[in-house]
Structures are given as C-alpha cells and as structure tokens.
Amino acid sequence: MEHLLPLAAALPLVAAALLPAVAWRRPDAAWGWAVAVGAGLLGIVGLLLRRLLQDGPFSYAVGGWAPPWGIELRFDALSAFSLGIALVGVAVLVFSGRYAQAAVPPQRRAWYYSLLLVNLGGLVGFACAADLFNLFVCMELVSVSSYALVAAGGGRIAALAAFKYLVAGAVSSLLVLFAVGILHALTGSLNMADVALRLADVEARGPVLLALGALTAGFMVKAALFPLHLWLPDAHASAPSPVSAVLSALVVKLGVLGLARVLPLFAGLDWLVLAPLHEGLAWLGAIAIVAGALAALLQEDLKLMLAYSTVSNIGYIVLGLGLATPLAMTGGLVHVFYHALIKATLFLAAGAIIHQAGFRTLRDLRGVGRAMPWTGVALSLGVLAIVGLPPTAGFLGKWYLLLGALEAGRPGFAVALLAGALLIFVYYLRILNAFYFRAPLREQILAVREAPLSMLLPVMALALLCLLGGLFGSGPVALAALAAARLAGGG
C-alpha cells in the first residue's frame, strides 16, 4: 500500500516511454493506453488520498534509503492537489481522443500522448516531493513536456510561443537549481525537512537571502505572477486546447505549490523576517488580480481571454499566500485545486467549441451556444464557477481569501479582490452574451454540431465537479486548512 507513493508518478512516466513503442503500428491506439494509464493514476491517487484522510500525512523512503541520505517522498495536505492533477489529467486524455485526430498530425500523435503522460507524472511527483532536487527534476519533467506540447498542434504562433515559454521557463528553472545548490552548500542536505532544520543554524545571511530570492523569483516566473507573466498568454492560447487546459489548470500551479513548499524552509531562521516578502507577494497578487482581469477584458480571442484569466486567478492564490494568515492561505490553497477544475472545464469547453465551429474569436462565435447546447451548459457552469458565484467551487477560495484579508487586518485587499471579481464577471459576461444573446455573425455557426460524446463527457464531468465541488467542499477545504496551518506554523 505505501509503495503506491513512488509508483504514482512512476506509472505515467514509464507508460509514457512505452507508449510510442506499443502504439507504433496504430497511432490511435495510444489514446486508449493513455486513458487507461490516466485512470490508473486516478485510482492510485484516490488510494493515497484515502490513506491521508485516515492516517494523516505519510512518507516513503525510496529504495529504503532513509532521509536525508536518500530521497523522501511525502504525501501531505499539499500533495492532495494530486487529485486535481489526476482528475484534470483523465479528462484531458479522454478529450484528446477526438481532438487530437483533427489537431495533431498522425505522426506526432503517440508522442503527444507520451508527453501528456510525462507532464502528469512530473506534476504528481512534484506534488509529492520532499526533496529539493527531486522537486527540481519533477519540475523539469513538467517543463520540458509543457514547452513541447504547446507546439504540438503546429502553427507559427504556437512555435514562437513555445520558444518564448521555453526561455522563460529555463531561466526560472535555473534560478531554482541555483538556489538548491546554495542551500546544499549551506546545509549539506537536500531533504527539505532536514534543510529547514539545519538552515536554522546557518549564520551567513547573504547566501540564505540569495537562495530565498532565487527561489521566489524562479517560482514566480513559473506561476506567471503578474509582471513575470509575459510568456503565458500566447503559450496557453496557441497550444492545442487540451494542452491549454493542462497548462492553465495544473502547470502554472507548480509555481505556487513550489513557493508553498520552499517558503517554510526559511521559517526557522529567527533573524529572517519574512513579512516584507509576504507583503510584496500580497501586493503583486492583488495587482495581478486586477491587471489580469483588465487584460482579459481587452481580448477578442476566446482562449486568450481564458489565458489572461489565469494570470488573474494566480493573483488570488498568491494574495492568499502573501496575506499569510491561516484563513487566507486556506483560501489560496483551496483555489489552487478548484481553479484547476474550473479552468480545465473552461479550456476544454472552449476547445470543443473552437474545434466544432472552426472560429476562435467572440465575434465569429456569436450564437454558438444555441448550436451546442450541452457544451454551452458546461461552459456556463464553468463561467459561473470562475466568477465565484456561490454555490460553485470558485466561491470557496474567494470566501476564505476575503475572511483572511479581514483576519490580517487588511480590508483594502478584500475590496481589491472584490473589484477584481467584478471585472472578471464583466469579461465572462461578454462570452455568455456572445454565445447566447447575440445574433450570429457567421451563418456557418447555425450549422455547427454538438461536440462528439468523447469530448462532451469529460467536459460535462468537469463542469459538474465545478458545481458539486463547491457543495461538497468540506473535504478540500479541510485539507487546505491543514496545509495552511502547517505553512503558518512555520513548516
């Protein structure tokens, strides 16, 4: 049972390597295998989660080498994000079946699924890593596969966006590696708990600050926090839609999860006051909420809108981390999970619509909601969730963030958050207006057919989760509160 922890990440990673060989003769067989692996991953994560809820966090020493000599994996409340990874992963893999047939050339298809599996495996590994270098390796697994997946569909904008993404991502990864090197040089260890322990005795302040700065900057780029978000919109908008879903729902979360993992390393240093860093993060988060929403408002391209909305939503999460009170961090962390579900719903629904209609701007897509009623319902549910309308899943994060802002004695941030939420509402309203209440500009729109079942099913399932996830949200909230308490308690 406990051996499932290292196998959770290993299953998709090994399967990814086998996929091109297994599906060599028939590229489309890769789809079935990939979905099966995704389902397996979901099962494993479910078992791990059950154990977490029953017995609390648990560790695994890979190879039997006790930490800090070997690599430790740890499944704690923060790792519970694996559930989001697995859910979105399965949905995306299922959705890809029909989508990839049209959008990914046949010779690339097996490799495409292979990269998706690498991405998911890396994400799960990242969520469960308790070792700094293991964290880095998993991050690279995710990064390398993400860069390539952006360009998987072909097209000049996609290739350019992928390159831009690659350079930004590689520099940020390098910063993280640099910081890992410094921390290793200071403590001689790579195990995070051990590093935190030994860092408390380190007297040299300069290297510690440098490591903290490099980690923060690196993860901020990964999270596309506002002034460092420039790589994101093109990459997320020009990628194939299932890939956009993975990138926006899961991959950007690496940055915030990474921050949540490494900031506690520095909590034991009595000379180090983290308050200015928190303050800065809170401000950047608040600015990101509003700026991302404003930028989204200016877009005409459906997927670009969704991409900027991700910039804005990352702002929520970072604001939560920055306010650094238990309630605020609960809000931020629970939004990590729910934003994953919601944004995946939105990107997949948008993907289905763009795939069926052949247009991607709001003007061209006018009236498409009537032609694709079920996808439209799913998209609408996703929209209501992302604007945070109760009782959807999106409300919970907002609720706890607001409470947290008051708890921190910062009602100003609560007001900023609400202003951002209103802006977000406005730009999502444009989508619904265009899809439902405007006369079609293109006459082809009326002839658009509803998406095939293999696309509709994952979209509807995710949309339902956006609703039910809110109504039955006590589990995720409890886990987020647990993780927040650990963060606030200093590791």
């Binding site: 209501l384 309308l389 109760p390 009782p391 409300f395 919970l396 907002k398 609720w399 706890y400 607001l402 409470l403 008051l406 708890e407 009602p411 609560a414 007001v415 609400l418 202003a419 939420a421 209103l422 509402f425 309203l429 207006n433 439902y436 209440f437 405007r438 006369a439 809110g470 109504l471 039955f472 949200g473 006590s474 909230v477 409890a478």
Partner: protein
C-alpha cells in the same frame, strides 16, 4: 420553536425542478404550460400548508449543504420569510397565467419560462434563507436568472439595459459579499434568528463599513436613491418580466434583504444605539419624494410605473429604519400591498399594449369605454397608491404614520400626506381621462383584453381590495405580518 421540515427545501426545489423540465422538455407549448402552472400551484399549496404553523410562531428549518464548511446552505421559515414567500408564490401563479398569454408567438419561450421558473425558485430561496450567506447565494442567483429575461428581446436597447442592470446588481452583490464577510469576521456566525448577530460587536471599527456595505448592496435592488438607475432602464423587458422585477422578485428581494439586515443581522437594539438608521430613514424619505416628482415627469406608462416603484419601495425601507413596531408592521405589510397593486398596474399596462399597441399615458384616454374591466383593475390599483381608505395602500400609510409617531418622528405623517398628494397628482388624472373622456384614434374593433391577460389583473385588483379591508380577519396576510413583527426580537409588542 424550531421544527425540521423537508417542505422548506421542497418549495424552492419545485421551481428548480420545473425550470429543468422546461429547459429539457419545454419545446412543446402544452407541456411547458403544464409544468410551469403545475409547479406554481403545487408550490403555493405547499407554502400554504406551512402557514398555520407560522402564524403560531413555529419556525421550520432545514439544512441542505455544508457550503461553505461550517456555515452551510440552510433554510429557515419564520414569519417574515413566510410572508415574502407567500406573496411571491401567489403572484407567481398570476404572473405565470399572464405570461402564457402574453408570450404567445414570442421567440425563445423555452428560455423565457425556464429562467422565469428559476427566478421564482431563487426568490423563495431568499425568503427561506437561514443565514446571510444563503441569502446572498440566492440573491446572486436571482441576478443571474433575471438577466436573460431582461435582455429577452436581444435588441441593442435590451442588451444595454441588461448591462446596466448587471453592473448595478453585481456591484451590489459584491458589496453584500463584503458585508457578509465582515459580519462573519465580526460575529463569527451568519445565522438569522438571534435577534441581532452583531449585538456583541458594538464599538468595532469595521461596524459602519459592514452597515454601509450591506445597506448599499441590498439598496441596489431596493432602488434606494441614488442606486436606482437600473430600474427605469430595465423597462425594455417584456411586461411579465417587468412585473416580476417590480412586484414579485427582484426589488422585493432587495427590501427583504434590508429587513433581514436591520432585524436579524444588526438587530433593533444595536441599531437604536448606533443611530445609523436615522440616515437610512432620511434617505428613504428623500427617495419617496424625489421618485414621485420624477414619476410626475414621465409620459410613458411603464416608465411612470418604474418611478412609482422606486418611490413605493422606500416606504418599506422607511418602515424598517424607524425601528418601531407599527413601522415594522407597515414595512412588512407593504411588501404585499405594493406587490399586488403594482402587479395589477403592470398587467394592465401589458394588456393595453397587447390589445391596442398603446404605451403612452395620454393614449389611455377614453379606454374605460372600450376596456372597462381592464381599466377597473387599473383604477383600484391607482386608488390604492393614493392611499384612499379601504384600499391596501391606506393600511401602509396609516401604520407607517403611527410608527413614525412611536419613534417621535412627526415628519413621517407629513411625508405620508405629501406622498399621497403626489400619487394623486400622477395617477388620478389618468383615471379621470380614461373614464370621463371619449376615446380618440382607436381602430374600430378594439375591445376588452383577452381572458388570459385580464383575469390575472382582476384577481390581483380584487386582492388589493381584500388587503385593504381584511386587517382584522385572522389568517389573512395582515395577521401574518403581525405575527412576524411579534417575533422580531427587541422591537416590542405589536398592537
């Protein structure tokens, strides 16, 4: 006494189910009418079965979901909620019948009736909400569900009105969310029924912010000046929608929310000490007068109705803000009085428009000769607004004046008189011209409105009369309002 009862959640659930059925199976006109009307009747009966208990002070509760954890979507039927639910579900039956007649041959009827049912579901949710968050939840859902109705025509004007409507109400919703968070922060709870959640939070620096946020948030839908701008614009909607907006659901949700804020969130005792409500009363008084003057200036029937609504709603706000038992009684009773009189007016306006194509007030001249029943309903409603004794409006004015005197605010009596004069100034000439001047420029063959449009108007007009004369009949709305006031904690005994 609190009693766990599933009927509490069934009532909004029926309308929700109806909405889903309409969306999925509603293409056939007959089926759709059956669903909508059937659900309306079943729900009315269901709520009526709760009435006897409510009259005796039984509070029915039900807890549905743990969202957000620790707070929960919970339902609770007290006298106030019961009163609102009863008014809205009675009116829903009438409006449904009317809408079936009115929307015949219109486009997108499935969407219309689906969202129509959703609106009523959320309205009952608002009435039965057991805590501020559940109230907010249904309040926001109401905003979303009315939007497709407001822009039903999909004309540029309708879309513009819809945008304005959303901008106002969503901003209001955000303010309420802020207020809710503040209350949760200050009081640690959001549940109604304690006679003042914030009673222990006196002196907190964030208290004024909470009051302003909540009052402004609910004040948007309650059309408290200067937050009323969306309502006249929203007149582009189909008439049943206007009726729904003005009488049944939206604006009433706003005033109902204000009543909850004053009686259940802050509590009469706390507010009496803080003195915020005198500002609110002054604002309401201003709104009553200013909106009446604005109504005088209108020549379009529906626009004058809109301004009249703004003015009338502030009666309720004023009644609540005075914090005395008589004033509270007036406020609660006026929810029904205004609703029935106003919906009569809208039914008439719609019937006239559908039958003769006329939308301006001066075009009503002489219509009494061709559409006597329609104009009878109109006249009853107009007299009620003026406040002629034996009509519903008089009851409000009477008790509001008494409440003002109880509070030592003699100016309320003057305000009532002034308002009565203004109402007379803008309704009675229309009545006069309709009955005592010959019709002009009517095409031959114009006659009484069809039954589906006329019957609801007559029924609601009859109800206006009933409300005016039944204040001492047990089991009638007035007695329910009395019961509700009796259980508003801290306000003292009602008469």
């Amino acid at each position: 006494m609190e009693v766990l009862d599933i009927r509490v959640v069934l009532a909004p659930g029926i309308s929700l189910l109806c909405a889903l059925l309409v969306f999925v199976l509603g293409r056939h006109d007959g089926w759709r009418a059956t669903f909508t009307l059937g659900a309306a009747l079943i729900k009315l009966v269901l709520i009526l079965t709760l009435l006897p208990g409510s009259l005796e002070g039984v509070v029915y509760v039900y807890r549905a979901f743990d969202f957000p954890p620790g707070i929960g979507i919970a339902f609770r039927v007290d006298g106030l909620g019961m009163f609102f639910a009863l008014v809205s579900s009675t009116l829903w039956v009438l409006t449904t019948i009317y809408a079936i007649g009115y929307m015949r041959d219109q486009h997108d009827r499935v969407r219309f009736f689906g969202f129509f049912a959703l609106c009523v579901s959320t309205t009952v949710g608002i009435a039965f909400a057991a805590n501020l968050l559940t109230l907010l939840l249904f309040y926001e859902l109401l905003t979303i569900c009315t939007y497709p109705l407001v822009i039903h025509d999909e004309t540029p004007a309708a879309l513009k009105a819809g945008r304005k409507y959303l901008a106002y109400t969503l901003a209001g919703g955000a303010l309420i969310l802020l207020g809710t968070v503040l209350v949760q922060h200050l009081a640690g709870s959001l549940a109604f029924g304690t006679g003042g959640l914030l009673a222990g939070a006196a002196g907190q620096p964030l208290l004024p912010l909470a009051f302003v946020a909540l009052v402004a948030g609910f004040g948007v839908k309650a059309c408290l000046m200067p937050l009323h701008g969306w309502l006249p614009t929203a007149m582009v909607a189909p008439t049943p929608v206007s009726a729904l907006l003005h009488a049944v659901a939206v604006v009433k949700a706003g005033v109902f929310g204000l009543l909850r804020v004053i009686y259940d969130v802050f509590g009469v005792e706390l507010l009496a000490g803080l003195g915020y409500t005198s500002w609110l009363a002054a604002l309401a008084a201003f709104t009553i007068l200013a909106a009446s003057f604005a109504a005088l200036a209108q020549v379009n029937f529906k626009r004058r109705l809109a301004w009249s609504t703004i003015s009338q709603l502030s009666y309720i706000v004023l009644g609540a803000a005075l914090l005395t038992p008589f004033a509270a009684l007036a406020a609660i009773v006026h929810i029904a009085n205004q609703a029935f009189a106003k919906i009569t007016m809208f039914f008439v306006a719609g019937a006239v428009e559908r039958t003769t194509g006329r939308t301006e007030l001066r075009e009503l001249t002489g219509l009494g000769h061709v559409m006597p029943w329609t104009m009878t309903a109109f006249t009853i409603a107009a007299l009620s607004f003026v406040g002629v004794p034996l009509f519903a409006g008089f009851v409000t004015k009477w008790y509001l004046s008494l409440g003002g005197l109880q509070a030592g605010a003699w100016w309320v009596v003057l305000l009532m008189l002034a308002s009565a004069l203004l109402n007379a100034a803008y309704w009675l000439p229309v009545v006069y011209r309709a009955w005592f001047q010959p019709p002009r420029g009517l095409e031959p063959g114009v006659r009484e409105a069809p039954l589906l449009l006329l019957a609801p108007a007559l029924v609601s007009a009859a109800y206006v009369l009933l409300l005016g004369v039944s204040t001492r009949v047990p089991g009638m709305p007035f007695s329910l309002a009395e019961a509700a006031v009796r259980f508003v904690s801290g306000i003292g005994a009602a008469p």
